[in-house]
């Protein structure tokens, strides 16, 4: 059985002051190999918590995660992670960062050299491979992070707002790149984002989460990611369904935020 299965995940943070936060409640999900899922939701609805559980950094209070039939108990090379920023190793040059996974696995340069150089080509950083990562721009650093993750050849790629810190133009280019890499490599991807547009453009499936407790609110199956492969993303945005879905989701999240505000005000 291939694919990623989340079974009734619940996560409760017990705080030292005796209270507790229900970050996730009964989240279940089936993700086939090669699917790209984008996750949206108001701030604090448990997206990062969900991703951390899948990555194996957190053990859920209830439920379990299965990848290709076996349970996830901790971080492993089969599940790669791309962080928002600041997760590169600045004491290594670009190439050493990208080849980190294979090197830690004890592979020789003749086994990974060609693959790593190919990835550097794909993300357009061939000339920069000997540079220190802190000499690169934010967009270039995220491309290094993507390449580093891919070089390790994981089954699942988990991304927590990977493009969140980039400017609009760089972000658009990176979105195309993510789509292209997804199609080329056929990886299963979970992408957390705050941008509804990004979620629509990149997600084959889209999950909207609701807060307090964090749970799945609604799920969509979208055609835009397939349309967007090899095409100008701006053309995709002109698709008649695109604007309508965007408005629907925006309204949904807007209502959730209103509700949170209302609850907070009532509590005061």
């Amino acid at each position: 059985m291939t694919g990623l299965v989340l079974e009734n995940l619940s996560m409760r943070f017990d705080l030292p002051n005796g209270t507790s936060v229900q970050a996730l409640k009964d989240v279940s999900l089936d993700l086939a190999a090669g699917e790209l899922l984008s996750v949206l939701g108001p701030s604090g609805c448990g997206k990062t918590t969900l991703l951390n559980i899948v990555a194996g950094f957190l053990a859920p209070t209830e439920g379990r995660v299965l990848l290709n039939g076996h349970a996830v108990t901790g971080p492993a090379a089969e599940r790669g992670m791309v962080f928002q920023q600041g997760a590169l190793f600045e004491w290594m040059d670009v190439r050493a960062n990208v080849s980190f996974g294979p090197r830690m696995a004890g592979k020789r340069e003749r086994d990974w050299g060609a693959h790593v150089d190919h990835l550097l080509d794909v993300v357009g950083l061939r000339e920069f491979k000997e540079k220190a990562v802190y000499e690169l721009s934010g967009g270039m650093q995220q491309r290094v992070a993507l390449a580093r993750c891919l070089a390790n050849d994981p089954d699942v790629i988990l991304m927590d707002e990977p493009l969140g810190a980039l400017d609009a133009l760089t972000r658009e280019k990176m979105q195309s790149l993510v789509l292209k890499l997804w199609k080329e490599t056929g990886k299963t991807i979970i992408l957390i984002t705050h941008s509804v547009e990004e979620a629509l453009l990149l997600g084959e499936r889209l999950l909207v989460m609701a807060p307090r407790p964090g749970r799945i609110h609604k799920e969509y199956r979208l055609p835009f990611a397939d349309l967007g492969v090899g095409e100008d993303l701006r053309a995709v945005k002109k698709h008649p369904d695109f604007a309508a879905t965007r408005e629907e989701i925006l309204g949904m999240i807007w209502n959730m935020e209103e509700e949170i505000m209302g609850r907070t005000e009532a509590a005061q």
Partner: protein, 421 residues
Amino acid sequence: MIVFLIYIAIFVASFLLVKLLVHRSTRDFTARKTVTFGDESAVRPNRVAGVVSVLTIFLLWGAFTGSKWVPGVLHAPGPFIGDATFTYTAEAEGVAPDDATVTIRVFPVGEEVTAPEVAPGEGWAKNDADTVGAWRSGLVRVDRNDDHGRDQGHRVVAVNGTPIAPGGEVMTAFGRVGMSPKGTLNFEPSKGLQMEPIWLPPPEAVLARLREIAREGYRDSTLWEHLGWSLFRVIAGFFFGALIGIPLGYAMGLSDWFRGWFDPIVEFMRPVPPLALIPLVIIWAGIGEPGKIILLFLAALWIMAIAARAGVSGVKISKVHAAYSLGASKWQIMRHVIIPNSLPDIFTGARVAMGVCWGTVVAAELVAAEKGAGMMIMVASKFQLTDIVIMGIILIGVIGFGIDILMRLAEKALVPWKGRG
């Protein structure tokens, strides 16, 4: 006091002068900043001020010690040198008061001089001659060559025509003439404003002493041996301190048990100045090399442990998570993430530790040592060899500064990613 006022005057005058002469010499971006007061990054050391500051110190030093390096016009008034004269009026039983002149040759200390030849003069009070060293004072027994001595009630009643009584004094152009309670005159030539070499030698004397000691050594060891021993102790102590302290800090940053076990010890030892440990270390290990190295080891140990611990806690959790997700083992994370990530902190700690060790070794050598920079100035001070003391202080400062610069260069070369995470 005067020195301080002159210093302030030079500070203000050079500031105004430079402001007048140099208009906005900075041409870079900072020069375009309109808000500079309160913007710390816009405040950079003014090079001219730095040069003037150092020159001023040497100028004041030279001016108040009569240095040959400072042109004579800039010298502060020196002590009186030459033949000083004053007259005294003496009374004795049965004769009229009589005057006589005293000539005193004031000479720089260290020279051999003889009293000037003077004619006895007329009357029963005879002219006198004597010698006194500059900055010193001397009794002048004017009655000894007079025809009527103390046994006949000889008594000085005036100096330069000004009445004087036992315990009193008269200021003359050449200095102060005082009278002891028993009626003996004493002469203290005017000192001027310069410092006597035994308090503060001129810069050239310090340099000459440096040359001499560099050539001939001091107390059975060459200068290089003295400094080398101090440096050796610092490096040995620091080496062992880092050798134990860094792994200890890592352990404290990585394990609950180590953190809990050593936290109280480290937090307790951190505020104890290493100097306070000197007596205990002397009791336990004696004044030999082991004692000194143990002391410096203790001085460096806590600093390095705390630096390494800070280096581990400073690692961003996302880097560790990323490494685990890329399949790294615990040991690989230690080797490829935690250690490199902590190096900037460790370098900062090492700079502090080297500074503290250098200060501590000098202090420890002041207390007891056979060789070393601190021992050199301690022994010299017992013999009032101020030039060696000053030379030692300057060398200690220069070496401490040199160590810090070397550490900074090493840091730049070895951890270029510092502060860029």
